[in-house]
């Protein structure tokens, strides 16, 4: 809080002061102006005018600078990267606008968080439903087909080879259904924890995509809240999907390390990477969303020397310090 003057009075004072100085100079200095003006006198007047304008411009710019920053911030604000607030330097109309803007950001961010949480919860619930239907309904049907094939095998031994092949195909479909439903609903996660779930995820990923996976999981990791574990799992899953779809990688490293009161997930591929900032579609947006909701810090950046490096740091249960600026 520098001066309690309002912007109006500050601008007024700047102009009044400058004009006053000019008037005083004209009144009390020995400068005289002859009727046909002499070059020196003209020069003094022009210089004085330029000086006044420069001072005026500078002072006005300082007075109005916060407005410019406010406008800039309003244009660039991103609710998925919360925590940015403008500093209040003075006590005037502009800072009242700044305060109101900061409050509006508070409100928007908390609403954003709530609606994000609702959407993710609904999404998870829907996935659980689909996984159950897949497993129960389609699984039942396939089991039925297997039984029928078995019966057929006994009745028509001359077709044994073809029937065995058909059974094999049905079993593959069964495995596929199981894989998709475990992708939709990571039961491993609830039953055996994050490390087992990620081990399974990466094993399946390596088998399906043909990309080599290197796992580096720290032996003992701090405890995470269930919703945090789910977020880490989903973000790893989404990162791996992106590696398979965009990276043209030959290897990907998936690491789970102990941080300071935190756990760090890293998914680093050696693929083609991206230039500058990637366009963020559904995948990256939902990764940010999940990170935001659990107070994690998520960085998606080029890896050295090539590829993409996804780093997610999430607070452990006993964490005292929040990670990053997430509040």
């Amino acid at each position: 809080m520098r001066s309690p003057l309002s912007v109006f009075w500050r601008v007024f004072a700047v102009n009044a002061g400058l004009l006053g100085v000019l008037a005083a100079l004209l009144l009390f200095s020995p400068v005289e102006i002859d009727a046909p003006i002499r070059p020196v006198q003209a020069l003094i007047i022009v210089l004085g005018l330029m000086l006044t304008l420069a001072a005026n411009g500078y002072l006005l710019r300082r007075a109005l600078d916060p407005l410019e920053r406010l406008a800039q911030r309003m244009e660039t604000v991103d609710l998925l990267r919360p925590g940015q607030r403008l500093q209040i330097l003075r006590d005037d109309e502009i800072s009242r606008v700044v305060i109101a803007f900061n409050r509006m950001l508070d409100r928007l961010e908390s609403e954003r968080r709530q609606s994000g949480r609702r959407i993710l919860l609904a999404q998870e619930a829907e996935r659980v439903g689909i996984a159950r239907d897949l497993h129960d309904e389609v699984g039942q049907v396939l089991t039925g087909v297997l039984l029928q094939l078995g019966a057929l095998e006994e009745r028509a031994p001359e077709h044994r080879a073809e029937i065995a092949e058909a059974k094999q195909t049905v079993r593959r479909a069964f495995d596929e259904v199981r894989r998709i439903s475990s992708e939709l609903r990571p039961e491993m996660l609830e039953q055996l924890g994050l490390v087992s779930a990620l081990t399974e995820l990466t094993t399946t990923f390596a088998r399906v995509s043909g990309i080599g996976v290197e796992r580096r999981f720290d032996q003992s990791l701090p405890t995470l809240a269930p919703e945090t574990e789910l977020a880490v799992y989903r973000i790893a899953q989404e990162s791996l999907t992106n590696v398979a779809r965009h990276a043209q990688a030959t290897r990907v490293t998936v690491a789970l390390e102990q941080g300071y009161d935190s756990v760090v997930l890293r998914v680093v591929d050696d693929g083609s990477g991206f230039d500058g900032e990637p366009a963020e579609h559904g995948g990256l947006r939902s990764m940010r969303e999940r990170a935001l909701l659990i107070g994690g810090a998520l960085a998606i950046k080029p890896a050295v020397p090539t590829g993409v490096d996804v780093r997610l740091e999430v607070p452990a249960i006993e964490a005292v310090h929040p990670v990053g600026v997430a509040r």
């Binding site: 800039q72 935190s262 950046k301 050295v304 780093r311 740091e313 990053g324």
Partner: protein, 116 residues
């Protein structure tokens, strides 16, 4: 890192700190329009080419650094003493001051190098 001299001062300080405290080092190069290659070269010059993680971007330096610090879960930001934010903010443009309103992460100001 922004200016060359300042960037080097900040880089040297950050490297020393990260070595002594065993901290992760993330280098950020946020001056308008300068390619990421330069960051890689600077990192290599200081012998941290494969240890330091590298981020670069274009836009308002203070805002970008604040954002990167948040994404990386940074514990500390190191900037050069005379590093500037937006030039057109003139005398108010000291990056370290601007960072105050951009991020809750503590900012360390590295003094200018006296030699080298």
């Amino acid at each position: 890192m922004t200016d060359d001299d300042d960037g080097r001062a900040a880089l040297a300080t950050a490297i020393a700190l990260s070595e002594r405290l065993d901290l992760r080092l993330v280098l950020a190069y946020v001056r308008d329009g300068i390619p990421a290659r330069r960051l890689a070269r600077l990192a290599a010059e200081h012998g941290v080419g494969d240890r330091a993680e590298q981020r670069s971007g274009t836009g308002d330096p203070a805002m970008l650094i604040g954002r990167i610090a948040a994404e990386e879960g940074a514990d500390l930001i190191v900037v050069g003493a005379r590093a500037r934010g937006r030039l057109r903010r003139g005398l108010d443009g000291r990056l370290a001051d601007q960072l105050g309103s951009e991020t809750p992460v503590p900012v360390l100001i590295a003094p200018a190098l006296t030699s080298g």
